[in-house]
Symmetry: C2
Subunit: 312 residues, 2 copies
């Protein structure tokens, strides 16, 4: 059995490779839900959907999130009402949010609804939210005026394009949240636990902030292997640098190593970062060098195999 901690696009691409080299039924993906929010009255779970759509082979190939061939008729029509439409939901994608919202309103848990949605897409790996409780990433920013303001993750990332300088990040609700019903068991039962190449601060960070999960990982540290999402001092995609740097985490595989060392025994870093292997080891981790830039599913599969081999 394999457990994987996952955020959005980077994780999804890695997982698409993983299921080419292992039995998909052996995989449980534990997904960040601290980016979840309500838009237009609907419950949106960006990372769950990115993982699901990608494992279904239905993701938008360039942007990584959302669906291939998506249309935005309903959002365009919402503009008529002067509604805030900076978070744009595609017409196909809307069906997922309509379904999830109605099922949650009926009393289903997010874990249950996610199982229904992934089954509908024919996704074989188990995809589970880190928690059925509401956890919300809050990004504290400094305005040009010097004023401090707290934004939701999507306000900061989508509405404001990750521009406002970050002062702090916290995960509202995390301290009282419980791990999803099978999260701890998945970690405990797994032969290998993967930390996918995701944003350390706002994708992996919230998962670790749910009481019990970090402790479970620490207990399995020798079986935990991470993939650095930072290559040559920059994230492949997304705003990891704009979050790591102000929080005092070096924007490099070494910074990732220091952040993960407590619960993760091995880190896969990119070939281009080979000269920093000694520093990763100095942070207390074993190091594996591989091609981590997932240009396509074949490269992703090779990376997944390297990652599994690292603790085999």
């Amino acid at each position: 059995m394999i457990a994987a901690l996952a955020g959005g696009v980077g994780a999804a691409r890695f997982l698409r490779g993983l299921v080419r080299v292992v039995d998909p039924a052996s995989v449980t993906v534990i997904v960040n839900t601290a980016d979840d929010d309500r838009f237009h009255g609907l419950n949106v779970s960006p990372d769950l959907d990115t993982v699901t759509y990608t494992l279904a082979g239905a993701e938008h190939p360039e942007q990584g999130w959302g669906l291939a061939g998506e249309t935005f008729t309903a959002m365009d029509a919402l503009d008529r009402y002067g509604a805030d439409t900076w978070f744009r939901l595609g017409d196909h994608d809307l069906a997922t949010h309509l379904y999830r919202t109605r099922r949650l309103d009926e009393g289903a848990t997010l874990t249950e609804v996610t199982a229904e949605i992934t089954a509908a897409w024919g996704v074989v790996p188990r995809v589970v939210p880190m928690s059925d409780d509401r956890v919300a990433t809050r990004v504290t920013v400094r305005r040009p005026s010097g004023e401090i303001e707290v934004l939701s993750m999507q306000e900061w990332f989508v509405r404001e394009r990750a521009n406002p300088p970050v002062v702090a990040v916290d995960f509202a609700g995390a301290s009282t949240a419980s791990p999803g019903p099978d999260v701890l068991r998945a970690i405990e039962d797994a032969e290998t636990i993967l930390v996918c190449p995701s944003n350390p601060v706002i994708s992996i960070g919230p998962i670790l902030a749910v009481p019990g999960i970090r402790e479970a990982l620490i207990g399995r540290r020798e079986r935990v292997v991470g993939v650095s999402p930072i290559i040559a001092g920059a994230p492949v995609k997304g705003p990891a640098d704009r979050l790591m740097d102000p929080l005092g985490i070096e924007v490099s595989c070494v910074g990732v190593a220091r952040a993960y060392a407590e619960f993760c025994g091995t880190l896969v870093i990119d070939s281009g970062d080979a000269m920093r292997a000694a520093e990763v080891e100095a942070a207390g981790m074993r190091v594996v060098v591989a091609d981590t830039l997932m240009r396509d599913a074949r490269v992703a599969a090779a990376l997944a195999q390297h990652t599994l081999n690292a603790v085999a």
Copy 2:
């Protein structure tokens, strides 16, 4: 000032004619909301939307309800989840329901949200729900087995295509509902009150069932003029016959006259029904004969002018 009691397609077509012959700003349309329901977690108000879209000139020209050029991407996508999609919401139309649902959740009244929606569509007449309280038409039917079952209006009309024989109709919540905030004043202040050519049982019936509205109409009876939705013993559109007959209302302009006589002084009947004028008068109403089949907006405008003249 003109007040108009309205249901769906027939009323909307009549009103489109009316605003060609009077100042649109002088018109208040009081709309049935007992067909309102929740679909896919969204608050849907079929008659309010049909009136709004038609007055905006955006309605689907053949079917009368829904929007011209509509697409159904989100509904098709919902099929994946095995959701009940017999009540299909178009992608453009979804925006209206998303907006209304969110605003209601925020605490706005249906009257307020409807004013926002009509303003967004540039609709000049005031369009108001009969009530801000929930009233729900319930259709009691007899199954082939003899079993009695209570359906919502849309279950009976859309899901079951108005096929199950009707035993009774009632309006849940009506007895404790209040008229919308300006409904009674609109009736009291109007020079003329129009009863649009709508289903007497389930479009006009619920409006009359809200305490205070029927009484207000009775007080203005000489200024109330109705248009028979029944021509030559059959409804122009919709299932009025399947509701009137089992409830003991003759499916004819005479049946309509008897149902309306208490609160409505004058009835406009179709030229093809001229031979029944004496029976309408015997029911206690003045009668006006006109071309009531609204083939286009020009005919609708002429009908509206005839109707206004009837009490001028």
